[in-house]
Amino acid sequence: MQSPSANTETAPRPLIAEFRAATRRYGDVLAADALSIGIGRGEFLSFLGPSGCGKTTALRMLAGFETPTSGEVYLDGERVTEVPAYRRPVNMVFQHYALFPHLSVADNISYGLRQRRPRPDRAEVAQKVDRALAMVRLSGFGPRRIWEMSGGQQQRVALARAIVNEPKLLLLDEPLAALDRKLRREMQIELQTLQRQLGITFVLVTHDQEEALSMSDRICIMRGGRIVQSGSPNALYDQPVSRYVADFVGKSNFIDGIVTAQSGKDGQVETALGQRFAGRLSGSLEQGTKASLSIRPEQIGLTHAPRGGAEPVSVINRIFLGEHTEYLVRHATLGDLLVLVARQAEASEGGFAPGDAGFISWAPETGLILGQD
């Protein structure tokens, strides 16, 4: 397991690309603030964050569309900071695909191959295009026009157009944002499979946590041009370093207050109304600092009868999710909380309807006390 707070942690494998204090300024705005991170060979790395957090700038610096104001970018051991996009062995899948509307599917895919000097011969190009088409399950679609393809198909053409060049890095800029839910799920699996088959390093930029969590080996959570935390999806989910990360990775309930006690890993948060809750401390938080107690919805139990230390709530909403049921409950002082009840637990306890009274409880060690920054 990796140290959760270090931004400059070393990647687990030999590096294929690296940012060294890469900074990009637009006037007064710092789109990338001294980014330093290595990308391992064959890794599936994601930059996750809301719009404006700098994740796209990071990707564009790798592609060569942006030059850092200061700092360096390395690709396969070579300094490429000022190398233009057309001289970088890197390919990108654009958000809206950016397929050439005046070219056929096959001509789109062969575009990169045809720019090479000396030109590869036709038979070789055709063979590579066919293989790429097969890889994205579009065999036989080569002669089609772009506008004859559906959104999902265009997405796969864009993917084929990039991987046919066997790039050292495949950059994906919110590639699934324009697809519907079911198709997106399919493409996620397809992307993962493809990445494993090809062994190409994938760098994904997304604001969709589910996308990042389900596909990546490692995720960098970004905010204000900086990497707040990077680590495996599991590490980020279980050991977020701040409320921001916990809020961005998975769903969580937060109880705001002040740290009133700390001893080793254990701490206590006191709310403005004087309620005290125990939890594990994440990092070092001084007594008296503002903090949030984070409890994941699946860690909270919802019962009809009060148990020791249970808090009374009223059920506001119930969403059936199949394996789980998600309840929104209201507490008199803690506000609204999300509770995720597994199917089995609900079967033994009996369900709740909106308006029902109930009690919530959680094990103190499942609560995480996080800095509020």
Binding site: A63, G64, A85, Y86, M92, A98, F100, P101
Partner: protein, 272 residues
């Protein structure tokens, strides 16, 4: 309301319809229709003065449209890279150039060229041996220059609209796929804006072919078709003039429709 619209359309198109109708008149008067005939078309097309004016008009229209297309495209592409206030001013100036009345352009071009020739001709006279100095004067050159200048604004406006509607990431995708800037221009930008260039060319051609006012000022001793028509009307309107007018109208309409079709089909393709 519907009647009102009908009246407006009648008012707009009746004179044109009358011209077209009387071009098929068998008699030689423009006021009474005495029977159907195409003899005036034959007369017009076998009149050497008409054919010479037509040829002048054609050469001027073709050259000025070519020049306007090439330089207009270059200007539109260059303007893409300009941002902020400079661009706003440049855009405004182009619209102004289209809206300036033809008579102003005509006079301005005439004065500018006469002044220019006034400076250059003595220089040429000094450089060349006695009596053999070339003399710059109004003619083909000035006609082509004046028309190209005006048409260029048309081309720029059409192409700016087209470039604005184009997805910038297409150019980035091309660069990402190893194409250097000029290869990107040749393989992506040019094919995508080509319908706009062609439409601009056709509009420029039509403009130059029909223009009377600017041509009247800068034609010098040359006679374009509109100038020929104007001067022969002073000797009375014959159905021959009607036939010429109808033919010019038909060619212009054809080119305009072609320009529209090219622009529309191009726009549909550019979107997908």
């Amino acid at each position: 309301m519907r009647l009102y619209a009908l009246a407006v359309y009648l008012f707009l198109y009746l004179p044109i319809a009358v011209i077209a109708l009387f071009s098929f008149n068998a008699g030689r008067h423009a006021s009474q229709f005495t029977g159907f005939s195409v003899q005036w078309y034959g007369k017009a097309l076998s009149n050497p003065f008409v054919m010479e004016a037509l040829w002048t008009s054609f050469v001027v229209a073709l050259s000025s449209a070519l020049i306007a297309s090439v330089f207009g495209t270059m200007a539109a592409l260059a303007l893409q890279g300009v941002r902020g206030r400079v661009r706003a001013v440049a855009d405004a100036l182009i619209y102004v150039a289209v809206m300036v009345p033809g008579i102003v352009i005509g006079i301005a071009t005439l004065i500018a060229l006469v002044t220019l020739f006034g400076w250059i001709n003595p220089l040429l006279a000094r450089l060349a041996p006695e009596g053999q100095a070339p003399q710059l004067s109004m003619g083909y050159g000035s006609l082509i220059a004046a028309h190209a200048l005006f048409s260029m604004a048309l081309v720029i406006i059409i192409l700016r609209a087209r470039l604005a509607g184009m997805d910038r990431s297409l150019m980035e995708a091309s660069a990402d796929l190893y194409a250097p800037p000029f290869a990107t221009f040749r393989q992506v930008t040019l094919p995508l804006i080509f319908p706009g260039i062609l439409a601009g060319f056709l509009l420029s051609f039509t403009f130059s072919f029909d223009d009377f006012i600017i041509a009247f000022f800068v034609a010098g001793s040359e006679t374009t078709l509109p100038i020929y028509v104007f001067s022969s009307i002073r000797r009375g309107v014959t159905p021959e003039i009607n036939a010429i007018g109808t033919m010019v109208l038909a060619v212009s309409l054809l080119l305009l429709v072609a320009a529209q079709i090219i622009l529309r089909s191009g726009a549909r393709r550019g979107e997908s």
